[in-house]
């Protein structure tokens, strides 16, 4: 206990055995430990950032040889995707349109359903029931997408052929319906959070003005929570556009743009399904593989911009409710 003798204790501290001033050795160790700790934690955090950067770099690098050697106009504007033909054509227009097509169609089903469900959960259902129902809704997100895919192919597709008289059951409608179900938990969960974040004050102010419950919900609460709801919708769209297995199984994967455009009973193909379906066979360093990576770059650009949009609206939602 020689340290205790040289300690410069000015006033009694809680732990008097410990020195108040550190020896140079202790000081150095403390310095090292705090900085090493910081460095380790920083590295751990940085790993995920690094992963994003590396993925971005990797995908861009791998697509670079293709993008520099192939006509960009043809890649973006041609509808012909014939990667294994004698003289291959890599036109991704039909594929890009396919991705956007099923995503928007899915939102058409999922947004009204999801927002109304969120309002119901936050404002109408009793607190007890809500605490049961919300986790159950979130379980929907935990079902593996291949299970949804089997349902789409084995149940929904034959059902559509039998009862809707469609010639093929694996089509844009099938894929959109399944994607809508998959986007629902995201939309409901985020929208419900933002609607319940709108405080009691606003609701009570509305009631005191003589508004009915329905008027309060439609004219006050939903407009007040619009930032959060928009963020929920964008997040739902990201879920739909990035989904692979379900669209690969349910959409039919025909490389065409529906004609006429509203005919959802036709098969379409998405970017994710194309990459997943063809990456295995595309030889290393071939033009085909480069083209698939180029589609990957498009997909990344799309999801990144959607992500930025959702971040913007989420931060606005937080500001609006004054909660961080």
């Amino acid at each position: 206990m020689s340290n205790a003798q040289i300690s410069l204790t000015l006033e009694p501290a809680a732990d008097t055995r410990r020195p108040m001033a550190l020896t140079p050795g202790e000081d150095f160790r403390g310095y090292l430990a705090s900085h090493l700790g910081r460095a380790v934690l920083f590295l751990m955090t940085f790993t995920s950032v690094l992963a994003v950067l590396l993925i971005l770099l990797f995908v861009i690098l791998r697509s670079f040889s293709f993008l520099s050697g192939y006509s960009l106009v043809e890649f973006l504007a041609s509808r012909d995707w014939r990667p294994t033909a004698e003289s291959p054509v890599f036109g991704s227009l039909a594929i890009i349109v396919g991705s956007l097509y099923v995503s928007f169609a899915a939102l058409l089903f999922a947004v009204p359903l999801g927002v109304l469900a969120a309002v119901f959960l936050s404002d109408i259902l009793s607190w007890k029931a809500r605490n049961v129902v919300k986790p159950v809704v979130e379980i929907l997100a935990a079902i593996p997408s291949v299970a949804y895919g089997f349902f789409a192919v084995l149940v929904l597709a034959p059902w559509m052929q039998k009862h809707l008289g469609l010639s093929t059951g694996t089509n844009a409608l099938n894929a959109s319906l399944i994607l809508a179900i998959m986007a629902l938990p995201t939309i409901i969960s985020v929208a419900e959070d933002s609607i319940s974040a709108i405080g009691r004050e606003l609701r009570e102010a509305s009631y005191s003005c003589g508004a009915t419950r329905m008027e309060t919900m439609i004219k006050v609460i939903i407009p007040a929570a619009h930032s959060g709801i928009i963020a929920a919708v964008v997040l739902g769209m990201m879920r739909a556009i990035g989904e692979t297995m379900v669209v690969w199984m349910a959409s039919g994967n025909a490389t065409q743009i529906p004609h006429p455009w509203w005919d959802v009973s036709q098969s379409i193909r998405t970017m994710t399904a194309t990459i997943a379906g063809e990456m295995g066979e595309a030889p290393e360093d071939s033009e085909h593989r480069g083209a698939l990576f180029a589609i990957g770059v498009l997909l990344l650009i799309l999801t990144f911009s959607l992500n930025i949009v959702s971040e913007y609206f989420l931060s606005r939602a937080k500001k609006a409710t004054g909660k961080t």
Partner: protein, 271 residues
Amino acid sequence: MKKMIASMIVSVLTMGVAAHAQTLQIDGSTTVGPIADAFAEYFKSVQPDLAITVKKTGSGDGAAALIDGRCDIATMSRFMKPEEFQKAVAGNVLPVAHVVAMDGVCIVVHPSNPVKALTGAQVRDIYTGKIANWKEVGGSDTPIVVISRDTSSGTYETFESLVMKKQPMGAGVEYVNANPQAQSRVRTTAGAIGYVGLGFLEGVKALSIDGISPTRQTVANGSYPVTRPLFLFTNGYPKLGSVVHKFVTFHLTEKGQELIESKGFVPLTNY
């Protein structure tokens, strides 16, 4: 030469580590891969210290691996191209082909479809989109739902080379990613046409092509038009009694034929 020395050093080193451990490297076709997998599994079950790796990277990669000495057996769903053969011989590798099984692809339709037979050209026209309705080939007035396997499958490769003859598939063709899925799509879709291996005919109707219906016999003797042999390539004829020799002759045994049939292919026996 460097590679040979390196591989000799590696093999000497591994011999030193485990005296009796034998390794067998197999590389190549995605079509023949399941057969090689099944054989490898059986070999490992009777000889646990045998280390077999089966890679499925494509017939071309298999040939390249054999030429570079990276594998003992190359699995290929086509014969070696002249360039590959010349490159092999120039590198002192003498490719020997062993046919292990026949692969027949059946063109199937919904059981209720009145059409019983098509010609190869008609099937091609259906897949390019030239024929879009069953009435054009003698069926009822129903639009044709064309179903293909995904382009990375060996079945697609067979179909493409033997039926499509380098013509591109039409834009309306749907793609599914496994034989059972193609089968179930055709089984549940009245206007559908698809193609599957011989083992996947339950609940669907196989058409006869150019007047010949797909059976074990017509595939084994090669008279059914959408048939091709599946190869194992070795460097020279393997030393009799070696593991490689046992492997490339395993299809002659009863167990080997059973495994080939279980994977939906046809053994070579024709009786």
